[in-house]
């Protein structure tokens, strides 16, 4: 994902990047590996951030700063915009419906160039329409298919195939 962002869109090298909902930091690490200028990772979960910190040390990444905050707080937290926002938001299927749209709305406010995100293909029309109403120009870069094994208590099947859109939202 990061490789496409870097090579097709020149949105990684020397850019200031925000990883919204960074979790254990996979996207952030990818960004640093491909030459990001600086990366800030925000997540609401302190345990995820601990894991992220550990991963950063293991991979010897030194240009990532982490902040413990919710997505609403993140919208008001920064004085300046970042060049690019990358994210893999929670899809909002069980208890947090619409959370991925909240992430998108906040991300669009915090980016000066572009936002890269993943959303369920089944919500594509809604996502594209909402993004346009917020002034962004969306482009579906790829459609991915994940075979996700059960990870939460409310998952009843052993694994599920899920179709996901990788979308670039141009802000400028």
């Amino acid at each position: 994902m990061i490789h496409t962002i870097a090579s097709s869109f020149d949105d990684i090298e020397n850019r200031s990047i925000l990883d919204l909902g960074c979790g254990c930091g996979m996207l952030s690490i990818g960004c640093v590996m491909l030459g990001a200028g600086s990366v800030v990772g925000v997540d609401i979960d302190p345990d995820a951030l601990d894991t992220c910190q550990q991963n950063l040390e293991d991979f010897e990444m030194d240009n990532v700063d982490l902040i413990n905050a919710s997505v609403e707080e993140a919208g008001l937290l920064f004085r300046n915009k970042f060049d690019v926002v990358v994210m893999n938001p929670p899809f909002g299927t069980k208890h947090n419906k619409g959370l991925d749209m909240k992430f998108l709305e906040t991300a669009l406010k915090l980016a000066s160039r572009s936002v890269y995100s993943l959303h369920k293909t089944s919500t594509r029309d809604h996502v594209l329409k909402k993004a346009q109403s917020w002034g962004a120009k969306p482009q579906v870069v790829a459609e991915l298919r994940y075979d996700l094994p059960a990870t939460y208590k409310h998952h009843t099947k052993a694994s599920v195939d899920i179709n996901v859109d990788f979308i670039r939202f141009a802000v400028s």
């Binding site: 020397n14 600086s38 030194d62 240009n63 700063d65 982490l66 902040i67 920064f78 004085r79």
Partner: protein, 116 residues
């Protein structure tokens, strides 16, 4: 938490706070590390940095001597200046301490480099 990040943070998420900037730093543990110098990136972000805020932050971390008083006009070509800016923005880190909102005096703890 690096000073580059601190330079961007406000406490506007608190209700009734108007500006919430800059956040004061009460430092307990500070670390200096080595980060790869990228002059192109530094030159790009200098215009975004509030230099006074940066100086005050460096002072609160006990590293005022490393930072130039102001940004020279042709900073893009001055390697020495860019190197000093790089050092202050990315290599000095607050590990443990508090960030204080200038308006509400509310404290945000920084633990292990991560502000809450």
């Amino acid at each position: 938490m690096k000073l580059l990040t601190h330079n961007m943070l406000t406490s506007k998420a608190i209700k009734q706070v108007n500006t919430g900037y800059p956040l004061l730093i009460e430092a307990r543990d500070v670390k200096v590390s080595e980060v790869e110098f990228n002059p192109e990136f530094i030159a790009k972000i200098i215009p975004k940095v509030d230099w006074d805020c940066l100086r005050r932050a460096a002072e609160q971390l006990g590293h005022l001597d490393k930072i130039p008083a102001s940004v020279p006009d042709t900073y893009e070509n001055q390697q020495e200046f860019l190197k000093q800016a790089h050092h202050v923005l990315l290599e000095i880190e607050l590990i443990n301490g508090d960030l204080v909102c200038p308006e509400s005096n509310r404290k945000f703890p920084v633990t292990d480099g991560i502000p809450n």
